[in-house]
């Protein structure tokens, strides 16, 4: 132990009257560049999945797959470097947008949260999440970006994102692998 035990420093404000907050860490282009720094271009390969494909993905991963998925091919000189996928996971208390980078073989290369949104003390349905954040309007009770409260305690489980990754790995197996 070095020196006297640290103490909290008095700061204002004393409390926060917020119900939820959102924090953006990376934009899609920023994440693309960070995850595939040598890529020359990212080709939009957005997927519209068939019922058959969605059924197989659900069987493999245990999680329901939506009808569409935002996917890009990271390419250099015509060669596929890997897949860049953007996904949303919606829980009762959180709504998280993240990016996943896969190798052409479907191994995870990188993962970063793009936007993190959490509520406090109440549960929220997916449609309400989308309503609140459509056009990124800020309601009175929401605090956006700067001055994000650093909250001690209250650990939120990352299970939803972990399940999302499993689902995207299944999606690669069912749909993307054939397009390498």
């Amino acid at each position: 132990m070095r020196g006297p035990i640290p103490a909290l420093i008095a700061l204002v404000p004393a409390s926060l009257a917020i119900n939820a907050f959102a924090a953006e860490y990376l934009t899609i282009p920023q994440a693309q560049k960070a995850m595939f720094p040598t890529a020359e271009r990212f080709i939009d390969a957005q997927l519209s999945l068939t019922d058959e494909q969605r059924k197989k993905i659900k069987e493999l991963s245990g999680t329901r797959q939506r009808e569409t998925q935002q996917v890009w091919r990271a390419e250099k000189g015509g060669e596929l470097l890997g897949w860049f996928i953007v996904d949303d996971v919606v829980g009762k208390h959180e709504f998280i947008t993240y990016a996943l980078a896969l190798t052409p073989d479907g191994a995870v290369n990188a993962l970063d949260i793009l936007v993190y949104r959490e509520t406090y003390g109440y549960q929220i349905r997916e449609s309400q999440w989308r309503d609140h954040f459509r056009g990124r309007t800020v309601a009175d009770s929401f605090k956006l970006d700067d001055g994000i409260p650093n909250i001690t305690g209250a650990t939120l489980s990352c299970r939803n994102v972990s399940n999302g990754v499993k689902r995207l790995l299944a999606l690669h197996q069912v749909v993307l692998r054939a397009h390498a």
Binding site: M1, R2, G3, I5, P6, A7, L8, I9, A10, L11, V12, P13, A14, S15, L16, A17, I18, A23, Y25, L26, A34, K92, H93, L111, D112, I113, Y116, Y120, G121, D146, P149, N150, I151, T152, G153, A154, T155, L156, S157, C158, R159, V161, S162
Partner: protein
Amino acid sequence: MNAQVMRRLRPLFGTYVEVGVTGADNDAIESAFDVMTIVHREMSFHDATSELSRINRAQGEWIRVSLHTRRVLRLARAMMRASEGLFDCTVGGELIERGCLPQHDSSPHARSGAANDIEINGSLVRVRGDIRITLDGIAKGYGIDMGIRALRRCGVSAGWINAGGDLRAFGEIALPVYRRESDGALSGLGGIKDAAVATSATHASGAERYPGVIVSSQRDVPKQGIWTVVAHTAWRADALTKVAALAGSADRSSIVQRLGGRLVEERVAA
């Protein structure tokens, strides 16, 4: 905060971990996540292939483990002794019985043990065969401390790491810290500067949203309470929240202080 800041958020330690630095330094942030990933992998109870799981199924045999794992075991054992069992890393069996932790093998396990049941000799470790060590909170705190060290080694002058509510800041910043009180209000605790803070809570009705269990082989766990500790290091702050939760209310503050932490009492709105 006027200085430019770079932050990244990733899932790790079963929660979300934010690394922030002043300036813009991708490599430093990656370096912090790299070491935290190693710590998580080596000490995960859930992962049957982790070093911790190897220790737990070694059936009393000596096995070789890596430096990080040895360090955390030493810290855990020392804290268990110093706190006279209020901090107890041998309660894995108890948590398995309650369904809070997975059971990886069918051999019999004791609900808990003693500090002397953990032996460390150089890079070799031996634990009494029927004990299940759990390092969850303290390993996360240690991971944060290693992450901070990585940031510093990369030349970052100020930054922080927030691993699901265990926080540590370093350099010329005062990180404002909030805590959710039992009535749901977010209270501002103040700022931390070159310090770590951790909070454990016990809930009367079991918390679906924030799973986290405190158990003790020695005493009744308080039904409801929020325990926040400030310390130099994240491993110590985290370990001391468990001590705070289980110490009797009469000497809670002084016990935590004796062990190197500062207890921040629960705040109830007037």
